[in-house]
Amino acid sequence: MPHAARFFLLLIVLTDFVVLGTTRLGTIIRAIAAQGILLGALSLVIAPEWTPHAVAIAIGAVAVKGVALPWLLAWAMREAAVRREVEPLVGYIASLLLGAAAVAIGFAVSRRLPLPGGGSPLLVPVALASLMIGMLVLTSRRKAVTQVAGYLILENGIYLFGLTQTATVSFLLELGVLLDVLVGVFVMGIVVFHIQREFDTLDATRFGEADD
C-alpha cells in the first residue's frame, strides 16, 4: 500500500475525531466535507489504474460527499440559526475515549477478517472504526444536523470498505454513492428543512416523543 493511501486513511480517522470532540456545528460540517474529499482522493490512490470508471467514482464521491451534502447541512444550519451542539447524551471526553476504543476494536476485529489477496492492512480497521464512530455520533447527539453528520461518517466507513471490492464487483461502490444521494440529499434534506420550518430548531430529541 502506498504511503499516500496510509496518510489519507490517518487523516480520515482524524476528521472522525474532530467531529467527536467539537461542539461547533460549523467545524463538524467542515470535517465532513474534508472527509468526503479525502475519500475521493483515496479511491484514486488505491485504484490499480486510472480507468474512466475509477475516475468517475472518485469525482462522484467528492461531488456528493465532499461538496453537495456538506453544503446541504450548512444550509440547514444557517436556516435554523443553530451554531452549537447542546448537552450531548455522551460527553465530549467520553466520546473521544469511545472513539479511541472504536479504533482499537476495528484493529482487533480486522485481524480476524483477513482480506483475500492481502492488500491494504489499514483499510478494514479504519472502515470499521468509522462505522462505529458514526453510530456513536448518530445515537449520542441531539441536533438533527449532527445526527446526519454521524450517519455520513457511518456511510463513509462502508464506502471505505467498498473500495476493497472494486476488483470483483465493480458496481457495488455506485450503490454506496446512490445511498448517499437518495438518503442524504433527497429525504433527510427535506426532513431537516421541515423540522426547521415547524419548530425553528433542529433539536431532534425534544419534539413529540410519543408515549408508549
Partner: protein, 479 residues
C-alpha cells in the same frame, strides 16, 4: 420477459402519476395497475416465468410467495384507496399515488431478484418510497415519526449494504458469478467462513431493522401510529415480508455453506426477544394502530423463530408470512374505517363500533381474532406449526415460553377487541349518527378476511406445494 414487465409496469405508472395533476386519474390508475400486476402474477403461477438474461431476475418458490402476497394485498389496498381519498384527501395526491406505485415496483424487485445487491436496491427503494407517505399529516408527531423511521431504516439499509460487501468478499476466489444466489449456494463450503459469518450478522441486523425485530423495533409504534392506515397495512404486511425475504436469502446461503449452526441460534434469540418485548408492550395498549405495531413485532419474532428452528418451522415461517400479511392488511384497513368515522385511533373513542359501522365492526372482530391466533384462521395454524417445530427439535423450553407469550398477547388483544367492538357507544354520541359504509372501503377487507379464513381451513394444493418447496430451500420440510 414477463418479469421485466412486472417490474416496469408499476415504475412507469409511478412516473405517469407524478406528471398527472387530475385527482380522478390517480384514483383510476392505482387499482387498474394493481389489477394488471396481479393478473401477471397469477399467470406466473400457471406458466412459470423465464429468468431474465444473466439470471439476475428469476422467480423461485420463496420469491413467488412474497410476490403474490405483495401483489394481492396491494390490489386490496389500491381498491380501498379509491374510497379512502374520497373521505380524506392525503396531502399531495400525486405524491401519494406515485409513492404507492413505486413501492409496488420496489417490492416486485425484491421478490424477483436473485442478485443480492439488486435485492438490497429493492429494499432501499421500498423503504424510501414509504417515507413521504408516513409524513402525511405534516404535524409535530408525524414529523417525529418520520424522522425516527428514516434514521432507523437508513442505518438498517447501510448495515445491510456492508453485509452485501462482506458477502462479496466471502465469495471472492471461488468460482461463480458474484452475489448470485444460485452461485453462492453452489460455492457452499468454498466461501470464506469469517467473512460469511460477518455478512450474516450485518444482513440480519440490517434487514432485521426493516422487519422490526426487537431491539431494532423502536421506530415501529410511532411510524404505524402516524401513517395513514392503508400505508400502515402495506408496511406491516408487505414491507416486512420483503425484509424477511432478505433474511431468508442469506439464511439459504448459510445453510448451503454448512453454517446453519451459526445462523440458527441467532435467529432464535432475536425471535424470542421480539416476542417478549411485544408481550410487554401490548398489554394495556389503548391506541389501535400502536397495538397493531407491537403485534407486528410479535409476528416478526415468530418468523425469525420458525426460520431458526428449521424442520417444519421453516414451513410454518413461510406460511406465517402469508397469514400475517393478509391479517395485518385486513386489520389496518378496517381500523382505517373506524378512524375515518371517529377521527381518533384510541380504543375509547372507537367504542361500540359494531353498532355504528356494522360491517367494519364485524371485520375488525374477525381481523383481531385472526391476528390474535385464534382458530380457524391461518395465523393459528402457522403459529402451531412453529411451536410444533420447537417441540420436534427438543426445545421444550422455547415451546413453553412461546405458548405463554402467545396466551398473554391473545388476552390483551381480546381485551381491546371486546372494548372496541362490543362496548356501547359513548353517551355523547348522537344515537342516529351512522356513516354509510362505502363498498370501496368494505369489499377489500372482506376479501382479505375470506383469504385469512381459507388459509386456515384448507390451503389450496398449489399454495401448499409452493410452501413446501420454499421450506426445502431453507433446510426444512412440510409437516
Amino acid at each position: 420477459m414477463r418479469l421485466l414487465v412486472l417490474l416496469a409496469l408499476p415504475l412507469l405508472a409511478a412516473g405517469a402519476a407524478w406528471f398527472t395533476k387530475a385527482e380522478r386519474r390517480h384514483a383510476a390508475l392505482l387499482p387498474s395497475v394493481a389489477a394488471i400486476h396481479a393478473a401477471l402474477v397469477v399467470s406466473c403461477w400457471v406458466w412459470p416465468a423465464f429468468p431474465a438474461p444473466g439470471g439476475w431476475l428469476a422467480l423461485d418458490a420463496a420469491g413467488l410467495l412474497i410476490l403474490t402476497l405483495s401483489s394481492a394485498t396491494f390490489l386490496a389496498t389500491a381498491i380501498y384507496a379509491v374510497g379512502y381519498v374520497r373521505r380524506e384527501t392525503p396531502r399531495g395526491g400525486r405524491v401519494f399515488a406515485s409513492c404507492l406505485l413505486a413501492f409496488l415496483a420496489a417490492m416486485t424487485l425484491v421478490s424477483i431478484s436473485q442478485h443480492l445487491a439488486l435485492l438490497w436496491l429493492g429494499m432501499e427503494g421500498a423503504a424510501l418510497s414509504m417515507a413521504p407517505l408516513v409524513y402525511h399529516r405534516h404535524d409535530r408527531r408525524s414529523l417525529s415519526a418520520v424522522w425516527k423511521y428514516l434514521l432507523m431504516s437508513s442505518v438498517g439499509i447501510a448495515l445491510a449494504l456492508l453485509g452485501v460487501y462482506f458477502l462479496a468478499t466471502a465469495q471472492s476466489g471461488s468460482a461463480g458469478r458474484p452475489l448470485l444466489l444460485s452461485d453462492l449456494a453452489a460455492a457452499g463450503a468454498a466461501l470464506r467462513v469469517p467473512w460469511l459469518r460477518a455478512a450474516f450478522l450485518f444482513l440480519l441486523a440490517g434487514f432485521g431493522t426493516k422487519m422490526g425485530l426487537a431491539p431494532m423495533h423502536t421506530w415501529k409504534p410511532d411510524t404505524y401510529g402516524e401513517a395513514p392506515p392503508l400505508v400502515g397495512g402495506l408496511m406491516a404486511g408487505v414491507l416486512t415480508a420483503g425484509a424477511f425475504l432478505g433474511i431468508v436469502r442469506i439464511t439459504q446461503v448459510m445453510i448451503a455453506a454448512g453454517e446453519g449452526g451459526f445462523a440458527r441460534p441467532l435467529l432464535i434469540a432475536f425471535g424470542i426477544l421480539s416476542l417478549i418485548v411485544a408481550a410487554a408492550f401490548i398489554a394495556g395498549q389503548r391506541d389501535l394502530k400502536r397495538l397493531l405495531a407491537y403485534s407486528s413485532v410479535e409476528h416478526m419474532g415468530l418468523l425469525a423463530l420458525g426460520l431458526g428452528l428449521g424442520g417444519i418451522g421453516a414451513y410454518g415461517s413461510v406460511l406465517h408470512v402469508l397469514n400475517n400479511g393478509v391479517a395485518k392488511t385486513l386489520l389496518f384497513l378496517t381500523a382505517g374505517n373506524a378512524i375515518l368515522h371517529s377521527s381518533s385511533a384510541t380504543s375509547a373513542d372507537n367504542r361500540g363500533l359494531l353498532r355504528r359501522l356494522p360491517l367494519s365492526g364485524a371485520l375488525l372482530f374477525i381481523g383481531l381474532l385472526a391476528i390474535g391466533g385464534s382458530p380457524p384462521f391461518g395465523v393459528f395454524f402457522s403459529e402451531l406449526t412453529i411451536v410444533g417445530a420447537a417441540v420436534n427439535g427438543g426445545h421444550a423450553g422455547i415451546a413453553a415460553i412461546v405458548l405463554a407469550i402467545l396466551a398473554i398477547i391473545f388476552i390483551a388483544v381480546a381485551a381491546i377487541l371486546l372494548d372496541v367492538v362490543f362496548a356501547p357507544a359513548p353517551a355523547a354520541e348522537p344515537a342516529g349518527r351512522r356513516m354509510r359504509e362505502s363498498a370501496w372501503l368494505v369489499t377489500p377487507p372482506l376479501a382479505l378476511a375470506v383469504i385469512a379464513l381459507v388459509l386456515g381451513v384448507w390451503i389450496p394444493h398449489p399454495v401448499r406445494a409452493l410452501l413446501a418447496r420454499a421450506a426445502i430451500t431453507l433446510g426444512g420440510h412440510a409437516p
